[in-house]
Amino acid sequence: MHHEVLVTGYGLVAPGAMDASTLFRRIAQQGSGLRANPRFQRLGFINTAAGYIDEEQWARIHVATAKLPDITPPQVRLAEFVMLSALVSAGLTVDDFRHMKSGLFLGSNKFCANNRDFAVLCACLDFDGLFDLDRFLTEQAPTSHPFARRVDQQTHHLAALLGVADHVSTHADACAAGTVAIGTAFRSIQRGDIDIALCGAVELMASELPYYMFNSLGALCQAAEWPAAQQSRPFMRDRCGFVLSEGAALLVLESRQHAERRRASALGRVLGFAALCEAEKMTSSSRDGSKYQACMNAALADARCCPADIDHINTHGTSTQSNDSCEGKAVLSLFGPHLDRISLTANKSAIGHSLASSGAIEVVLSLLSLSEGVLLPTLNYRPEGAEFPELRFLSEAECAPIGTVLSNSFGFGGINSALVLGGA
């Protein structure tokens, strides 16, 4: 027997937004969260555009997580903050999970040391230019040095805090990790392994190391002269790379029976999921979009629906030439006859690419579109400059009731994923 899976809560933090409705409203009003990152400016980076959680946001996160020791890594603080928001949204307390058949599914790709960490390391080079490990360790609190941290540190922190006893996993599926974490939680509940799950992703990679990584690939926006808010322009012909970002989003999923038993309100439903390996190229997909199409088709089949059932598509839309070209072709091919009534959006135009977290944030925004009946615009989108004018991306928010959304996430290395979401 398959259990129906409801979304009963969510929380998020994105660049300049501490909650989902603030972010949703800001994008609806065509506000961007992308700015010049002061840290990148100080370091003299050519392109300083980024989506980042600013000091004011961190101050609020610190207040809400004041009980944590000072040395707590920021990823852990962020995870706890968003977890608390998601629980409140779901009408749950921190103690509730420990009495339920529960799971925690968290996407995150890596813990990256930042410039501050490297400055400390450099200070420990001795006169011969050798790194003095003993000195470094002596000067650091035992658990604060970057090598003591792991990519799954926030998973274990939340699992311990919530008392999750059944399923705890960390998903490292590149840019698809958040979507895969949600999809895996969906299947675990659907299968009956657990009744309730906290799932999503936490990623803080708008920092120096990822900047170098992605810049060396030519994946970041190459037009440094453009204002930060205009650099991410998915599906436009003049797009030239993505804008690095960060954030976190967590959702509470549960079986309908479980939600009804505790009289929780549904905010939406997860209807289907697919994650496929395309084994094509490291940073690009099949030129004709066929691999992305196969993934979307598999998600639709899992949801037992067909292209005609989809009202809205939240694209992966990174603003790279390769992704948007493949995704556009895939959508055209799969949804061709229905495109006149399907609207599309690319949230990364407003908040950049937060890698693992991007899929989870986009799912939350999609759920808000379902519940509010408001379709979000794609910032910097002009039909006259679009590569695929047949695709109905909106320049302005539009009010329209929708029933089903397809949300895509395609990761480096060829991990393609898609979720089908429904209204409550």
Partner: protein, 364 residues
């Protein structure tokens, strides 16, 4: 757990790579000796030399651009290629799941430190700026999976897990579900241990005081799952069921429901085929784990591969799986033997995997 309404899942072949060698049988041979580590002579471990990738499967460039843990993973998993190809399945029906461990997290930082040591005059920014893109890319787990997917033609469901011992079970179960629920007809499950670097020991600050540090090993392990056993096999190895749990290693955060978590995990996995402990032919686990001993009421357990080749992190489960199945008494069974593997990671994951080793016959 595998439900009666889903398809059966069979283990078709395993591959291992560790200090004992590159066959599961080698784990029963002359045990390798743990060596003093170059960077910490007072510590011992089972480091491996970096294997050479078969050039008929992988681009030659990968040998020098992929870091050690991924090379072990690719080298080990490639040995399952012929068996996978013999199944004759379309690539879209072959799933790929991976457990790639914690080395992913701080390794970029550690590489930066190593770079500083080697070239202290070079500004860090310059070093990063000159880092070849391919090298940057291998810092993502999915990149290693992509190399494998391309070499072995896997284009079905995909999932990558990051963590310690628990990630191996996550990868194995996701692959099993994909077969059981019809999304794939075969699955390649791959895993690798962390590299033995100073970073590995720096993390020991997370361990409770008084805990004996693990002797780490380097290795990789992989297995091929299918929806039906091969005709030529002398036995069928069926994945009967699983159970998992999480027990916070911080005592203050462990709660009442978790008072006997291993017992719960154990009961769940045995209930998959209505078994009791007396129905089991063998149990593999850590005989020194007091919590485990209490849960199984001192039922005799066989130690896994850890004493032989060290703690292998995310690749420990698949190594133990191969080790258990290489035990001579289960090579040609005349009746069904139920084997149980139990593990607990020091970060708190509990896992139980139940296998049935049956006389060879075609799947129903």
């Amino acid at each position: 757990m595998m439900s009666g309404t889903t398809r059966p899942v069979y283990l078709l072949e395993s591959a291992v790579l560790n200090a004992a060698g590159n066959s599961a049988e080698a784990l029963y041979g002359q045990a390798p000796t743990a060596n003093a580590l170059e960077f910490a002579p007072d510590r011992r471990g089972f480091p491996l030399s970096v294997p050479r990738l078969p050039t008929d499967r992988f681009d030659r460039k990968l040998q020098r651009s992929v870091e050690a843990q991924s090379l072990r993973l690719l080298h080990c998993a490639a040995r399952l290629g012929p068996r996978l190809e013999a199944l004759g399945l379309p690539p879209e029906r072959v799933a790929l799941t991976a457990a790639i461990p914690e080395v992913d997290a701080p390794s970029p930082s550690w590489e930066a430190v190593a770079a500083m040591r080697q070239q202290p005059d070079l500004w860090l920014a310059q070093w990063f700026a000159n880092t070849p893109p391919l090298h940057s890319l291998i810092l993502l787990n999915s990149s290693s999976m992509a190399y494998l997917a391309e070499a072995l033609a896997c284009r079905g469901p995909m999932a990558g897990y990051c963590g310690q011992e628990g990630a191996g079970l996550d990868a194995l179960l996701e692959a099993s579900h994909n077969i059981a629920e019809g999304r794939a007809d075969a699955a390649l499950v791959v895993s690798t241990s962390p590299n033995i670097t100073p970073a590995l020991f720096l993390r020991e600050t997370e361990l409770e005081e008084g805990t004996t540090p693990l002797v780490p090993g380097e290795g990789a392990a992989a297995c091929l799952l299918g929806v039906e056993p091969a005709k030529s096999d002398t036995r069928n190895v069926r994945i009967v069921g699983y159970s998992r749990g999480f027990l916070s290693p911080t005592p203050a955060q462990a709660d009442a429901r978790q008072a006997d978590p291993f017992a719960r995990v154990l009961n769940q996995v045995l209930s998959c085929e209505h078994l009791s402990m007396s129905d089991l032919s063998a149990v593999w686990s850590d005989p020194d784990d007091a919590l485990l001993r209490r849960a199984i009421d001192n039922y005799p357990v066989r130690p896994g591969s850890r004493p032989v080749v060290g703690a292998l992190g995310a690749s420990s489960l698949l190594t133990d799986l191969a080790y258990a199945l290489a035990a001579p008494e289960f090579a040609a069974p005349v009746q069904t033997n139920y084997l149980l593997l139990l593990n607990r990671s020091y970060t708190g994951h509990l896992g139980a995997l139940l296998l049935a080793v049956e006389p060879a016959r075609r799947a129903p």
